[in-house]
Amino acid sequence: MTINRRPEIADPEGTTVRRALEELGFEQVTSVRMDRVIHMEVAGEDRDEIQAQVTKMCEQLLANPVLEDFEIEVGG
């Protein structure tokens, strides 16, 4: 899943990276957000069930609702 920092929360890492890119001459970059991806292997057959479980994990632990939204993608 991807855990994205909410747009209204500051992202010092993103800001720093954008500046560093600018210094390297990549001036076309207008914004940078640094987020996290968590790749998990989950045992189970039922995709809906897995999706539901992972949603729970995100709500409970993996994402902080004050700072972050999340998106889940169940792969093959």
Binding site: E8, I9, A10, L61, N64, L67
Partner: protein, 214 residues
């Protein structure tokens, strides 16, 4: 009056906190994070460090430790609960204090003295201090920038000069009742003139007095 000093795997300031509280005449005992009964204690401190390595998000994993159920109970019953640095981050993750933490504005760890100003004297941290008075206490953190989109935290101490981008320059925050508080700098590191400052005593004495008052 006994204080539980909670130790999570990765906590590292627990002995310093016990040392500081005892040097002020307090009684403090280390309590492992799997403990599920704190009824013998009158208050609790969550010390600094890197609980669970600060992995995932600072404080995120620690808040599920069994001891946190008891910390929540104490908080609800009005007992003094103080989080220092990483302990503050854990209290936020646990929802006992408003807000959350992100990396310092300059993306580097900061270990140095900072100057703080008292902005609210009705919290466990600041009772007996005067609003507007100043303290010199060491800061020691990487994820030290507090954000609170709900603006519901009660700011007890603010940085005189903004070191890390914390919202409203908040250095210490309390709940509405004032019995639960978090402070990002380390008062237990400022208890001895030989080491550079004794201003931390003021904050810790306030905590110890709150135990009696509660």
């Amino acid at each position: 009056m006994r204080t539980a000093v909670v130790v999570f795997p990765g906590t590292n300031c627990e002995h310093d906190v016990v040392h500081a509280l005892e040097s002020l005449g307090g009684e403090a005992d280390l309590v492992w994070h799997r403990e599920s009964n704190l009824t013998d204690f009158d208050g609790a401190v969550l010390p600094g460090g890197f609980a669970h390595g600060d992995y995932l998000r600072t404080g995120a994993i620690a808040r599920f430790s069994p001891v946190m159920t008891e910390i929540s109970r104490m908080a609800a019953e009005g007992a003094p609960v103080l989080g220092i640095c990483n302990g503050f981050q854990i209290l936020c993750e646990a929802g006992l204090l408003a807000g959350a933490f992100i990396a310092n504005r300059d993306l580097s760890f900061i270990c140095s003295y900072v100057e703080l100003e008292v902005t609210d004297a009705a919290t466990v941290l600041t009772r007996g201090l005067e609003v507007g008075s100043r303290l010199r206490i060491p800061l020691n953190s990487y994820e030290g920038s507090w954000v609170d989109p709900t603006r519901s935290g009660r700011i007890a101490l603010r940085y005189v000069d903004d070191p890390n981008g914390s919202q409203d320059q908040a250095a210490a925050v309390a709940n509405m009742e004032g019995n639960v508080a978090g402070i990002m700098p380390h008062p237990e590191r400022a208890v001895d003139e030989l080491l550079g400052s004794t201003d931390g005593n003021l904050v810790l004495e306030s905590f110890l007095e709150s135990l009696v008052a509660a």
